[in-house]
Symmetry: D2
Subunit: 125 residues, 4 copies
């Protein structure tokens, strides 16, 4: 996935505001669903971030074109983990490992059914 | 209402990103509800922006403390209009006139009932 | 310009947060520069919003694909005006008229030189 | 530091968008400087996120009042680490450990001088 850096993404330090790399990675995760004609909101629930580790290696500035890759790490009964990397001119500038938990619309953790597990594997593996 | 300018509010131009003044004004509108122990989400619907005019007179930068005033303009069957001004050191830097329409949770415009009208008047007039 | 609606663009009302339409329009303006291999930051200054009028006709939600058009309205000594429209499935959902002023990096309004005027006309007319 | 949840902080899932907790924590870090009458931009440089670990324990919604605490973890030659916790009604809902590196305005890592080290200790320890 390609992402362009706009004014809204930057801050007065002249570079992309740190939290916005999480937005970029979320776009890439959602786009995997949209590309299949569906949304990340499934029949019985949706996904929320439970834990993440992020490394910032270099900065990006207004007008930069970034590339995001998303790699499947593993899956548990009610969650899965992805590794996402943001590149600028083929150089890794940001790396995220994120654990996403499946919850009901009321906010309770729930196990992924077979259909949802297969969907995730088809999208990210 | 007092608002501090943080990194997230600024852009690479070194000042507050233009659209964020709308966020500041929205905070002031919502805070009027919160201060009464309620939220802007009423029993049968909520409010959405229908029309707005904004003037940008001067800029604000990281660390600035801004003051926002909200003034009632008028009310119609299903909407009301507010005028909001953002000040920096007693100087007007931004001015907004915004028409807010009352809609159902399904998105249809609906008339304000007496209770909702009285609430709006008590909050903003 | 095509824009996808992601989680970050929405709010708890289930639709795109009103101020984010201004972000979408800013992306389209900047993209006009980026597409030419330049940025909106020119040699002697850059552009800031001075005045805008916005109309919200309908809402957009997670996953929607929006189309943005940008039309030149007019140009003065130190400013120019654009009209931008956001469409969802060929239906106009948002319209913006925005007056952009050219300022120095110190924040003073300055006249557009011939080169900058020609650039703006080539980008938006 | 107290933070109110506004519309802009939420997403269509009905809760605070995950990346916005990083914004809340950044506000608390900057506010430590502002409260002393200074900004996080020092004479010879400023701070950028280099690494962070975040845990999301529970969600927050529109109107919630959150409390943020910031605790000093340690300091190295050119960086320091903070632990920040977001509470909702005295319950921990988010926890962040963030490594901040001191860089020049050109983006190079630089050692913290004695004055900057003392400042950081006075603000966060």
């Amino acid at each position: 996935m390609q992402i362009r850096v706009y004014y809204e993404d930057t801050d007065t330090g002249g570079v992309v505001y740190h939290a916005n790399y999480l937005n970029f990675c979320e776009r890439a995760r959602s786009e995997a669903f949209f590309a299949k004609g569906i949304t990340p909101v499934l029949e019985s629930g949706h996904f929320v971030a439970r834990k993440l580790n992020a490394d910032f290696y270099a900065s990006a500035k207004l007008g930069d074109e970034l590339e995001i890759t998303t790699e499947f790490v593993d899956m548990k009964a009610a969650s899965f983990t992805l590794k996402q990397v943001v590149y600028k001119e083929n150089k890794k500038i940001f790396e995220l490992e994120i654990l996403l938990v499946y919850i009901t619309f009321e906010g309770r953790v729930q196990k992924l059914d077979i259909k949802s597990k297969e969907l995730i594997l088809s999208l990210f593996k």
